[in-house]
Subunit: 319 residues, 2 copies
């Protein structure tokens, strides 16, 4: 796997709560960053990006803003921070902006997007990224970073075969860390994705069912017990994919959720805003991978079906 | 099991959508009926009961209304039509009003209330009743009967042992039918209760989760599939209690739900009115009975836990 060139320009596809924040941090640190925008294009082109952050507020009065990928220069690091529900746009968005010697860095929840992206750009050009951050877009070009903020990066390989820690991964880590982003590396992307799913499947899913934040859920004995039961199923799903997560992860995650400030999950925020829920990435794909490994996750599947119904009713979509 | 005396007076404990309707029908047919009331007492004492019914509207300008059981005469038929969540009141409510030669007729959903009642009045004085009716209380002493209306009666025996069709059961049936209520009899109360649970567990439960009526659920492929899966589990629960329901029941119930006018389940109405949900009778007890028979119902259990959380959040009850 080739290293990245000396000069690493970054593109951000999806300048929202995640892409806006991490892209702004990179630009603030001196990197050249090009931002693709949609509804905020005019505002950001004129006024730049405004980041309220628990790490320190800052304003970038001028950013390279684009309304179309065709106008963007090719970049060596293309950060994809779209909602996973928008990934069907990537076959069109990626080719114009990804340099031949560049990589796609997918900052999303869930499982199963990397093989798709690999179909379009080649598996040797895909890095997966997991963000541990509370961040919201609160207005045009206005991002509010509330808590946490670390990123975990891992190479994608065909069929999610572990790729180890590559020099290229360390290059991206160095850039992110120069930008003040705590960044760790994993040799096994699928392991990292399943580990995050252990939290995301119960808490994202149940937050929509219960219309509740993390504190309301963790304080309720039945909600907590249900989250725990779902976590056990997810760990079994991971094992079906050959990824063995320790059972102690569950009590650790429950304890850290107790200590977290009340948090509205991304899925609950999407639901409130009547946006499509990221059900493919967070539910359908993990269910499929587990099933291919011979494991059913009946409660996860039930939650998935419930969320499909709620998502349709919420957005007024006929079944 | 003794027959009932010639003169059968009825008491109605819980003069709401069910008790108000069936009690009014009995009085209209010439039976002596005594109604226990709570919030509607003054109104009903002064103005009687007003029944809008798809079988024909009628008004009873005067009814025997009571605010306390101690003021009621003893009756040979005591119809319990309280919400199951109120059953903790029965040890106090039943003794003053139940004649020595009388029976309790429990018109409720769910499973497991009869053994409790049997503890207080003796198992030989308990009849279970299942109502197939769309009826709402829409104002003080004002009942709106929308559709259906039949009742199924069955004797309770210790441990829900089947009691067959007794002469006493036929006497109550004759009274109900004289009052224009289509009334059938079952030799096996527990079988009847499980059969109704096959519908009530999925549709009552999911109607709260989805904030949806029966038509919205039956038209949505995932909601329908989930109802079907839950029905399979309930049939397994019934089998664990030695009650073998045919699998064809499922497709019959789904087909009849398709044909029903859009219907808000009783549990959804309770939820909307921020009343406690009948979770013990409809979920916890069936789960317990199935478990005692060696069967887990994991999806039913998950739905139960979800509803416990929603019920608490809905009523602002700290966990």
């Amino acid at each position: 796997m080739a290293v990245l060139p000396e000069t690493r320009r970054y593109a951000v596809l999806g300048t929202g709560a995640l892409g806006g924040f991490y892209g702004a941090k990179l630009q603030q640190a001196g990197f050249t960053v090009h931002f693709l925008l949609h509804s905020d294009y005019d505002h950001v082109r004129q006024k730049g990006l405004w980041v309220e952050s628990c790490w320190g507020d800052f304003h970038l009065p001028q950013v390279n803003a684009y309304a179309a990928v065709e106008e963007m220069p090719v970049c060596e690091g293309v950060i994809v921070a779209l909602k996973a529900t928008q990934n069907h746009l990537l076959p069109r968005l990626l080719p114009p902006v990804l340099a031949d010697n560049g990589v796609v860095i997918l900052l999303q929840n869930g499982l199963g997007a990397e093989p798709e992206i690999a179909n379009w750009v080649g598996p040797e050009r895909v890095i997966g990224g997991l963000c541990f951050i509370s961040s919201n877009k609160v207005g045009p070009g206005h991002i509010c970073h509330l808590d946490y903020g670390s990123v975990l990066l891992a190479e994608y390989g065909p069929g999610y075969a572990p790729q180890g820690i590559t020099p290229r991964l360390q290059q991206v880590q160095a850039d992110f860390q120069r930008a003040g982003i705590p960044t760790s590396l994993s040799p096994d992307l699928m392991l990292a994705r399943w580990q995050k799913l252990v939290w995301n499947i119960p808490f994202n899913g149940l937050s929509v069912i219960f219309n509740a934040d993390t504190q309301q859920m963790i304080r309720d004995p039945e909600a907590r017990a249900l989250a725990e039961t779902l976590m056990h199923e997810v760990i079994q799903g991971a094992a079906a994919c050959g990824r063995h997560l320790p059972q102690t992860l569950i009590s650790e995650m429950l304890a850290s959720t107790e200590k977290m400030a009340p948090y509205r999950t991304s899925m609950k925020i999407d639901y409130e805003r009547k946006r499509p829920l990221e059900l493919e990435a967070i539910f359908a794909n993990p269910l499929r991978y587990a099933q291919q490994g011979g494991i059913q996750m009946p409660r996860v599947e039930m939650l998935y079906r419930q969320l499909q119904v709620l998502d349709r009713l919420n957005r007024g979509i006929p079944a």
